[in-house]
C-alpha cells in the first residue's frame, strides 16, 4: 500500500508503530509469562518460586499423580461431548428459530442468557437441580414415577457428564447465535431453486444449508474449544472436583497444585502440558491459514 510521496516514510512506519504497544504487551503478558512458567516447571518450587534446576522431575511427579490422569481423561471426555452436544443443540435451535417463529427474540434471549451469568452465580442452582434428593429426580419421583433415577452427580463414574450438561446449558446458546447468523447469511434463492426441483426440506438442510454453514461451524468450534479448555468456575461451582476427584480438569488441577498443595512446580508442569496441547492444535492451523492468505 502506497501513500503520497511526502508521507510515504511515515505511512510505512505508522501502522507498525501503532500496533507495537499491543505486541509488546502480549509479548510480556503472554510469552514472557509462559517462559516463566516453563522455567518454574523445571525447578523444585513448592510454596514460592525458587530458581534451581531439577530437570524433568516435576513432570515425572505430575504423570505419577493419579489425579492428573483423571484430569486429562476428563478433559478429553468433557471437551468432546461438550463440543458435540453444544453444536448439535445450537444448530437445532438455530434451524428451528429460523422458521419464522413467533417470539423469536424472546426465545433467543432465553437460549443466550446462560452465557451472561458466571458459574459462581449459577453453580448452586445447578447443584440443587442435579441433586437426586432435591432436584429433577425428586420432582419426577414425586410425580409418581418412583423408580426414576437421575443421580449422576453422586456417581464418580457419571459425574463428569453432569459437568457436560451444565457446560452445554451455558454455551449452546452462543453456538445457536453464530449458526443463526450463518443461516441468515445464506441466500434463499438457492433454497428456492432446490425446492422447485422437488427436494424435501430435511434434504435441503442436510445437503445444501448445513454444508454452507461450514465457516460458522468452524467459528463455533474455535470458541467452544476455548471455553472447554478454560473451564474452571464450572467445575468448582458444580462439584468442586468431586465426588472424590471424579470431575477434576487440568485447569482445576493446576490451581489446586499451585495454591492449595504447595506444589508450584507440579502446577507449572501441568500448565506447560496444557499449553503444549493447545499449541499442537492451534499452531498448524494458524500456519496453514496464514500461508494461504499470503499466497492468495
Amino acid at each position: 500500500m502506497n501513500a503520497s510521496r511526502q508521507s510515504s516514510r511515515l505511512a510505512a512506519w505508522l501502522p507498525r508503530l501503532v500496533v507495537a504497544p499491543s505486541l509488546l504487551i502480549v509479548l510480556v503478558t503472554v510469552y514472557l509469562f509462559i517462559a516463566w512458567t516453563g522455567v518454574i516447571s523445571v525447578t523444585s518450587s513448592k510454596f514460592v518460586p525458587v530458581y534451581d534446576f531439577v530437570g524433568l522431575e516435576q513432570f515425572a511427579r505430575l504423570w505419577a499423580t493419579p489425579r492428573w490422569h483423571i484430569a486429562v481423561e476428563n478433559l478429553f471426555i468433557f471437551s468432546t461431548l461438550f463440543l458435540a452436544i453444544s453444536i448439535g443443540l445450537g444448530l437445532l435451535m438455530a434451524i428451528l428459530l429460523d422458521q419464522h417463529v413467533r417470539a423469536e427474540g424472546f426465545l433467543r434471549a432465553v437460549y443466550l442468557y446462560p452465557m451472561a451469568l458466571s458459574f459462581i452465580v449459577t453453580g448452586t442452582a445447578w447443584k440443587w437441580v442435579l441433586n437426586p434428593g432435591l432436584g429433577i429426580q425428586k420432582v419426577v419421583n414425586d410425580l409418581g414415577w418412583a423408580t426414576f433415577r437421575f443421580d449422576w452427580i453422586a456417581d464418580p463414574q457419571m459425574a463428569i457428564y453432569t459437568v457436560v450438561i451444565a457446560g452445554v446449558w451455558q454455551s449452546s446458546g452462543f453456538a445457536m447465535a453464530i449458526f443463526l447468523a450463518g443461516l441468515r447469511g445464506i441466500d434463499n434463492s438457492v433454497i428456492k431453486a432446490a425446492q422447485i426441483e422437488g427436494a424435501s426440506l430435511p434434504l435441503i438442510y442436510r445437503q445444501i444449508i448445513i454444508p454452507m454453514l461450514r465457516p460458522a461451524m468452524l467459528s463455533v468450534v474455535v470458541l467452544l474449544s476455548y471455553i472447554a479448555i478454560k473451564s474452571f468456575d464450572l467445575v468448582l461451582a458444580l462439584t468442586n472436583g468431586g465426588p472424590g476427584a471424579a470431575t477434576e480438569l487440568p485447569s482445576t488441577f493446576m490451581f489446586s497444585a499451585t495454591f492449595r498443595r504447595n506444589q508450584m512446580g507440579v502446577g507449572a508442569a501441568s500448565a506447560v502440558m496444557m499449553l503444549m496441547t493447545v499449541a499442537a492444535i492451534i499452531v498448524p492451523y494458524l500456519y496453514s491459514e496464514l500461508r494461504e492468505r499470503n499466497n492468495g
Binding site: A3, A11, A12, L14, P15, V18, V19, T29, V30, L32, F33, W36, T37, P49, H100, G105, L107, A109, V110, L112, Y113, M115, A116, L117, S118, I120, V121, T122, T124, W126, G135, I178, L180, A181, G182, R184, G185, I186, D187, N188, V190, I191, M212, L218, S219, V221, V222, I229, D233, P250, S251, M254, A271, L275, V283, Y285, L286, L290, R293, N294
Partner: protein
Amino acid sequence: MAEAISTLPSPSPAPGSGRVTKTDETPRYNRAWIGRLFIYATLIAMAAAYLMPLWVMVTTSLKPLEEIYGGSFIGFPQNFTLDAWRVAWSQACIGTECTGLKPYFVNSLLIVIPAVVLSTGIGAINGYILTKWRFPGANLVFGLLLFGCFLPYQAILIPMARTLSLIGLAGSIPGLILVHVSYGICFTTLFFRNYFVTLPDDLTKAALVDGAGFFRIFWSIILPTSIPIIVVSCIWQFTQIWNDFLFGVSFTSGAHSPITVALNNIVNVTTGRKQYNIDMAAAMIAGIPTLLVYIVAGRYFVRGLTAGAVKG
C-alpha cells in the same frame, strides 16, 4: 478451523452466498401444522429447560431462609419476601464490612467500562492495521496475538503480580484494568481483524488517493462500517470482564474488589451456615448487568454476527 479463525463473528462470505436479503413476505416453505407444532413444542421445551436454573434462583431468592432449610429447595415460595434482595444489595456482610454488594457493583463498573472501551478500541485499530496496512510479519503478529486467547490464566498470576508491582499498579483498579485489556486485546483483535478482512480494499485505496491518512481512513471510513462487530466485541468483553473472579481476587483487595469477589464472599461460606436466599439474590444482582447487556444488545449481537453476509 483455518477458516474459522478468519470467520469468527465475521461477515461470513459463504461460498455461493448472494446479495439478496431474505424477506419475510413469503414463508419459505409450506408446511403442515404438525410441523409447526413440532417446532414450537421443541423450542418451548428447550426454553423451559434453559430457564430451570433461573427459576430455581429466582424462587429461592424470594423465600425466607427457614423455608429453605425446612427442605424446600425447589418449588414455589410459600412466604414470599423481598428481604433477601434488600440485604444482598445494601446490608450483607463481606468480611466485617456490612455494605452489601452496592459499592462493589460500582467498582465493577469502574473496571468494566474502561477495560471494554480500551480493549475494543485497541482491537479495532489492530484489526485495521493487520488487514488494511499489512506489513511484513503482520501474520506473525496476528498469530502471536491469537495464541494468547488460549493462555490458562491460573498459570500466570504470579508473574503478573510481579509485573504490576514493577509498574506501580499493584492492588489497584487501574492495574486490574490493565490486566483485562492485555488479555482482551487477543480476542478483540481477532474479532476486528476477521471483520475487516472482508471489507473491500478499494474503499481504503480510494480514500488514500483522495489524500486521507492513516487515522482519517480509520475514523471516517472503517469505523462507521463496523458497528456490528463493535457490538459483538463489547458484549464478549463485557461478559468476560464482569464475570471474572480470578484476576479480581488476585490483583485487587478489600474495598477495591470487583463484584464477583464480594459475591464469592457472600456465597462461598465454608464453616458457617449458608444463607441460600441471600446467596441467590446476590447472584442475581451480580448477573443483572450482563443479563441486561444480552437482552438489550442481544438482537444486535446476532445482527452483528450476520451483518457482513448481508452487505457482502
